[in-house]
């Protein structure tokens, strides 16, 4: 895109791009600064200010972060496992079977891509409460396990698998289930990775449904825990809030910085968060 590199306009553009990058990174950098310094130094950018880990210590003591981490971890694992199993089966049916009602069923799947359970909070709360799943981790994840988006992505991937591979396996006497496991699933690995990353980051970050459906420390995921912890009523200062916030986002942030390419590609593939 850059053509006349000696152009002063080019330098101006580089400067603007960097300025924007700085503005975009600033909130996180600032939170990092605050988290590692005593509260008195929060708005004093003196490079010689004393560093401290006390804020992390207080954050960890003020809120049951260990429990929140465990809850989020269980939620994310359970949801992703359920999604992968159920979506694989459904996607296989859509990709390789002919059956009456297929078109209608697929349109019904597409409906959920547009209208996700996120906005259907009122009725879903009533349903979850009838099922006796209020304030359970299963209750947080269940509405998302039948994931239209997962079905849609995997169906696309399965459709690209050459028929000959399936036929060859069948000649060798493999049934449909072992064909699915040994032919389709391995070939769709990039799609699973993409979907997995998107799903994990979605449920790690999800807030509205969890805040509705949980009401105890034993089930609250990190986001809900953070919202209580960060509320002005909790009386915690900004340094400690920053430390807690960094704690909560660090696993995902670290994973992102390490596997950036995969993350970006996954989000791109998926299109819809």
């Amino acid at each position: 895109m850059m053509i006349r590199e000696s152009d002063w306009g080019h330098y101006l553009e580089v400067a603007a791009a960097w300025l924007l990058a700085f503005i975009w990174a600033a909130p996180l950098l600032y939170a990092t600064w605050a988290a590692f310094h005593p509260m008195d130094f929060v708005s004093r950018f003196d490079l010689l200010s004393p560093l401290t880990l006390d804020n992390f210590q207080s954050a960890w003591n003020v809120a049951p972060f260990a429990r929140y981490f465990l809850n989020t971890f269980m939620l994310v694992c359970m949801t992703l496992t359920g999604q992968i199993v159920l979506c694989t089966l459904a996607a296989y049916a859509f990709a390789r079977f002919e059956f009456p009602g297929k078109e209608t069923a697929f349109i019904l799947v597409l409906v959920q891509i547009m209208i996700m359970p996120d906005v259907l909070i009122v009725q879903n709360y009533l349903t979850t409460s009838k099922l006796g799943l209020v304030d359970t981790i299963l209750g947080i994840g269940l509405p998302y396990i039948g994931s239209a988006f997962g079905i849609f992505l995997l169906r696309q991937a399965f459709k690209q698998v050459p028929r000959e591979l399936e036929d060859a396996a069948r000649v060798e006497g493999a049934g449909w289930f072992s064909i699915l496991l040994k032919v389709y699933v391995p070939l769709a690995r990039p799609t699973y990775l993409a979907y997995g990353l998107v799903s994990v980051s979605y449920h790690w970050n999800n807030f509205l449904w969890p805040v509705i459906i949980t009401n105890s420390t034993h089930t609250r995921p990190l986001t809900v825990g953070l919202s209580i912890f960060g509320a002005p009523e909790s009386g915690v200062n900004f340094s400690v809030i920053s430390a807690g916030t960094l704690l909560a986002v660090s696993p995902l942030l670290l994973a992102f910085l390490l596997f950036q390419r995969q993350f970006v590609q996954s989000f791109m593939r998926s299109g819809i968060k």
Partner: protein
């Protein structure tokens, strides 16, 4: 023999679909239908079971000033954030796609807000907006502007949410433009340059039209997001002051889980569904096209 084989394939297919369908119907299709249904009934209260009230809930909604306020807020929010974040996203993509020194660092900076939870970043931004000690007031102080309660003032509260949304979303939309830009062959530009076309001219007449499908996709998605994501309201303003920064979904949450008026909350949800449905029709056309590309 042949027919029974075919029938057994049907049964297999439906068995494969069954687990996912049960969950989808329970948590997507049933609540859509059930929500519409219960918008014609009253909320069951103690000693008073739910009864058919016709369009009463809708009449109530039409006369509810808060409903009109949050609807207006939501449109202001959407039309205020989307053009800005989409333009920024395009700009970011063009920069990151070019020969920029430190390109990888810049790209990471742009994209990182996307993967962070809204709740976490709202905690940080809350401090920026805090009067006196917050960064915003400190910066304004340098220019001699007096301390201001950014989140407590009805005229600035929604704006504060919008700035956060732009910051959070621009990097996400950037990756779609980036993918599209990488799909445009470099020969096209070389040819144009030989013909004497300027860079800006080429961008306007070639690149931009080629980015149209991506732009449409991003526009629809960002509009859906602006009706779907209300997490930051919980941290920054709780909809206040006086509903000045409340959005439709947040109001639904308040009505349902603050006042426990599930029938009215369902009525409000129907409006949200209509808006999302209209967007869905637009997007459906796009998805069809995308399937075609693959």
């Amino acid at each position: 023999m042949r027919l029974s084989h075919k029938t057994s394939r049907w049964v297999y297919a439906w068995l494969l679909l069954l687990p996912a369908s049960v969950l989808m119907v329970t948590f997507t299709h049933y609540p859509i239908v059930g929500g519409i249904f219960s918008s014609f009934f009253s909320t069951p209260r103690q000693g008073r079971p739910s009864r058919f009230v016709g369009l009463d809930n809708y009449a109530y909604m039409a006369n509810d000033p808060v409903f009109w306020q949050v609807l207006k807020n939501n449109f202001v929010y959407a039309f205020g954030t989307i053009p800005v974040s989409v333009c920024l996203a395009l700009l970011m993509a063009v920069w990151v796609n070019g020969k920029l020194p430190g390109r990888a660092v810049v790209r990471t900076a742009y994209f990182t807000p996307t993967i962070l939870p809204m709740i976490a970043v709202a905690n940080i931004w809350l401090f920026f907006y805090t009067p006196q000690i917050g960064i915003l007031d400190n910066i304004c102080g340098l220019f001699g502007i007096h301390s201001h309660s950014w989140l407590g003032d009805p005229s600035t509260a929604l704006g504060c949410l919008m700035v956060l949304a732009i910051w959070k979303d621009a990097g996400f939309f950037m990756i779609f433009f980036l993918a599209a830009l990488q799909g445009i062959s470099p020969e096209l530009e070389e040819a144009a340059l030989i013909e004497g076309a300027g860079r800006w001219y080429f961008f306007r007449r070639v690149t931009l039209p080629l980015l149209m499908p991506t732009t449409l996709f991003v526009l629809v998605n960002s509009t859906i997001n602006s009706f779907k994501l209300v997490d930051h309201i919980f941290i920054l303003t709780k909809g206040g002051p006086d509903n000045a920064s409340s959005l439709l979904l947040y109001y639904i949450y308040e009505v349902a889980f603050g006042f426990w008026d599930t029938a009215y909350a369902s009525t409000l949800t129907v409006v949200l569904l209509l808006i999302l449905g209209a967007l869905a029709v637009t997007q459906f056309k796009y998805i069809e096209k995308r399937v075609h590309y693959q």
